[in-house]
């Protein structure tokens, strides 16, 4: 028999339920315990209606419990909706009622990303519990996870759209835009709970449990905020506040919920303790393992004292050790022992080619051991040095020619003057690639030649180069110097555009600081924003300090001289507020949670 034939036999023509075939009758008999006398059933319904109409007080009207909230709650999985609100039967079921007024869905749509993030955490927690505890037969969580699965099924398309949308937003917009969107969404979700509480449809126990769990689950997201939203000079406490505020606020909400003793009595403690334990554990892991840590002077000194050199990273390591040591030596505090590094350097030079473009800075800092100069000799180049008549274009390559001639005292005053003139002339014109390092080298050569009047002539090209390579875009939060003016993205009016900066720009910023320490900070360069960049570069992960972290920390240490002498940090109230905007936003969110929990009505025995 075909399927249609079988169906026709099973259901007949009337499309009404039938028990007419033997198998159907057998199924019906097996389910007879569920059957109830129709009259008794209808009488039971009437009795309940009569009881509700006579005993219950005035039901919340549309003004108390607006369609906005009702429709917004339709996006929530049942376990997120308080029981009191569930009893208001219109909740989350009014799809037919609101199809003609789409705008009423707005709060729900705004709250959807927050609901989605809560669902992600909840699904993870249930999955984790199922994997670790096993099948929770008889557990309340069984149906919750069932509801969660149903929610994912019903909202899979919307979830995918929101996630893809957020990823796109992250890729195309500043992080602030996404964060503002997320915070608005969280406020919308909390607003729904607040409205339910105000309408008397949710008890303090219910609201407190949800706000508490919501804030504890926020700890996970706080990590991302923490890494992206680093106040430049607000200190470590503000970063700690980001994940700590939700933990404290969540605990307060749960404590307030427990004050509603009647409502709380129906809840199981482990549902509260688990999120607390989880969030505290996560906070611990995030802070003490994964969170970036500021590199201290001592750690930077330890990096220098390691004294290792690898063939692959030779250039980078020499430059970083040099930069770190130089700044540490010129600031107050203990100076690291560089001897192990020099031993390694000399061993390296025994069998490798001498690279003046890398080692000039080490020599200019007065650190290169005398024996190392032997490897730098280039008789032909040094001889031709005095024959040049053109401006010096590549001073890093020429540094050791000049240095060796000075060391053997084979340059006359006239020759020194001519070379100094060539060095200054070479700095004129277009700002070249690696201009700041090049200008640092020119200054070092002029110092070597002992020609201070020529150093003064470099002030103008140095200011031009500093301004051309300063990538600070308003509003300034974090900025640095880059290798070439071409790397600064500018709008049609020539104003730099915001950009993400990496460690690639650290050498340029290091040389810029050195130049500014000597020649002053040009108007338009914000030292505070540069300090923020150096703070970020000095952050190390898992307490592993590399050369970049050490160099950035050392430069940052040196910048204190720059702050005091040239341009004070902009410490206005507005700047501080701007720096702490994410901490403030989280604090407001936490306060809002505590407020709506505190204002929620206590349960009555009848409700339980």
């Amino acid at each position: 028999m075909t399927r249609d034939g079988q169906l026709a036999g099973a259901f007949g023509d009337s499309n009404r339920g039938v028990l007419d075939d033997d198998f159907g009758v057998a199924i019906g008999e097996a389910l007879e315990g569920l059957r109830q006398d129709p009259e008794d059933f209808a009488a039971g319904v009437r009795d309940r209606i009569a009881e509700r109409e006579t005993t219950s007080g005035p039901r919340p009207g549309p003004t108390m419990f607006s369609a906005w909230v009702r429709n917004a709650a339709a996006f929530m999985p049942p376990f997120l909706i308080p029981r009191g609100a569930v009893l208001d039967a219109g909740l989350a079921t009014g799809g037919l009622a609101v199809k003609k007024s789409v705008w009423k869905w707005a709060p729900g749509i705004v709250a959807f990303p927050a609901i989605l993030s809560v669902m992600l955490v909840a699904t993870f927690v249930w999955g984790f519990r199922r994997a670790t505890i096993g099948d929770t037969q008889g557990s309340v969580d069984d149906l919750s996870s069932l509801e969660a699965r149903l929610w994912w099924k019903q909202h899979r398309l919307a979830s995918v759209v929101v996630i893809v949308g957020l990823v796109m937003l992250l890729r195309t917009s500043p992080f602030e835009a996404v964060a503002i969107f997320a915070i608005l969404s969280m406020f919308a979700l909390l607003g729904i709970f607040g409205a339910l509480a105000r309408a008397g449809l949710a008890s303090r126990a219910e609201i407190g449990q949800r706000t508490g769990q919501f804030l504890h689950s926020m700890v996970i997201y706080a990590y991302f905020l923490m890494s992206e939203w680093m106040p430049s000079h607000a200190g470590g406490w503000s970063r700690v506040a980001l994940p700590l505020l939700p933990v404290i606020g969540g605990s307060v909400c749960l404590w307030l919920a427990q004050q509603d003793r009647v409502g709380w009595a129906t809840r199981r403690n482990q549902r509260v303790l688990l999120p607390i334990f989880t969030s505290v554990a996560i906070t611990f892991v995030l802070f003490f393992a994964l969170a970036p840590h500021h590199t201290t002077r001592e750690q930077a000194a330890e990096y220098v004292e390691r004294g290792f050199l690898t063939e692959e990273e030779f250039g980078g390591e020499v430059v970083e050790v040099t930069g770190t040591y130089r700044h540490l030596a010129e600031t107050k505090g203990s100076v690291p022992d560089i001897e192990p590094f020099h031993q390694a350097l000399l061993q390296h030079l025994e069998h490798e080619e001498f690279r003046p473009a890398i080692l000039w800075d080490h020599a200019a800092s007065g650190l290169l051991p005398d024996r190392a100069y032997d490897f730098s000799r280039d008789a032909k180049g040094e001889e031709k040095l005095t024959e040049y008549r053109r401006p010096l274009r590549h001073p890093q390559q020429m540094y050791f020619h000049i240095a060796n001639r000075i060391r053997e005292e084979s340059l006359s005053d006239r020759q020194r003057d001519r070379i100094a003139r060539q060095v200054v002339d070479g700095a004129q014109g277009k700002v070249p690639y690696d201009a700041l390092e090049e200008l640092s080298c020119r200054v070092a050569i002029l110092d070597l030649l002992d020609r201070p009047k020529y150093v003064e002539q470099l002030a103008e090209p140095i200011e031009l180069a500093l301004l051309a390579t300063w990538a600070g875009a308003p509003p300034l939060k974090l900025a640095c110097f880059v290798s070439s003016p071409n790397m600064v993205k500018r709008d049609s009016e020539g104003v730099p555009k915001r950009d993400r900066f990496s460690f690639v720009h650290l050498p340029d910023s290091d040389h810029a600081v050195r130049l500014m320490l000597r020649f002053g900070v040009p108007a338009g360069v914000q030292v505070r924003a540069l300090a923020a960049y150096l703070v970020e570069m000095s952050e190390n992960m898992m307490w592993t300090v590399d050369g970049r972290n050490a160099r950035a920390a050392a430069v940052l240490e040196r910048m204190s001289e720059l702050n005091g002498g040239v341009e004070p940090l902009d410490g206005s109230a507005w700047t501080v507020l701007l720096d702490l905007r994410m901490v403030i936003a989280v604090a407001v969110l936490v306060s809002f949670c505590v407020l709506i929990t505190k204002r929620a009505p206590m349960s009555t025995p009848e409700e339980c």
């Binding site: 339920g17 028990l19 019906g28 008999e29 049942p78 009893l87 079921t93 069984d142």
Partner: protein
């Protein structure tokens, strides 16, 4: 709103829906009554057509799921699960020496129903408690009548196979017991 007509159309499917969510017969009936009560009290909010099984079913389904969530939060779910486990234990222990007849057949049927996929078990419950119509079931589940029809067809087919398997197993168990008894004699 004709409450009696609404009850007549949706009583069976609603009890079946709640039962398929794991509630005991008494709780399923209680909650079904609560659903009609809430639907009546909030009737002014319903903007659809009560005669339309799809619209009325969607409204009732929303109330049912929320009331069920509320019922579960009161802790009753835990008791239901325990009751269900006890029932399942009984279901899986029919007398080995007898054919599937009478009460034992019902128990076997209920045990087989318990092993069905949830969506199939739901439509069987909703349909066969009172022989309710496909339109009401479809309305409550938010699917098409054709879909309900298909689920019923597959559920019946699967149920038959489960029962046949149980039948054969019992026969084999009974024969083995008889043979063993013969050998001992």
């Amino acid at each position: 709103m004709d409450l009696d007509a609404l009850i007549a159309r949706f009583r069976g499917p609603l009890i079946g829906l709640h039962a398929s969510w794991g509630l005991s017969a008494r709780d399923a009936q209680d909650l079904a009554q609560d659903v009609f009560t809430e639907a009546y009290l909030s009737r002014e909010r319903f903007k659809g057509d009560w005669a339309d099984a799809g619209q009325a079913g969607a409204w009732l389904r929303g109330i049912a799921s929320k009331l069920h969530a509320s019922h579960r939060r009161r802790g009753a779910w835990r008791l239901d699960k325990i009751a269900r486990r006890e029932l399942a234990r009984d279901d899986h222990a029919p007398a080995a020496s007898a054919k599937l007849e009478g009460q034992e057949r019902k128990l076997a049927m209920r045990a087989a129903l318990g092993r069905l996929r949830e969506s199939w078990r739901t439509v069987l419950h909703m349909h066969y408690i009172e022989g309710s119509g496909l339109a009401e079931i479809a309305g409550l589940l938010g699917v098409s009548e054709r879909s309900v029809e298909g689920r019923l067809f597959r559920a019946r087919k699967e149920l038959k196979q489960l029962l046949e398997g149980a039948d054969l197993a019992l026969e084999a168990t009974g024969n083995a017991a008889l043979a063993s008894k013969g050998e001992r004699l």
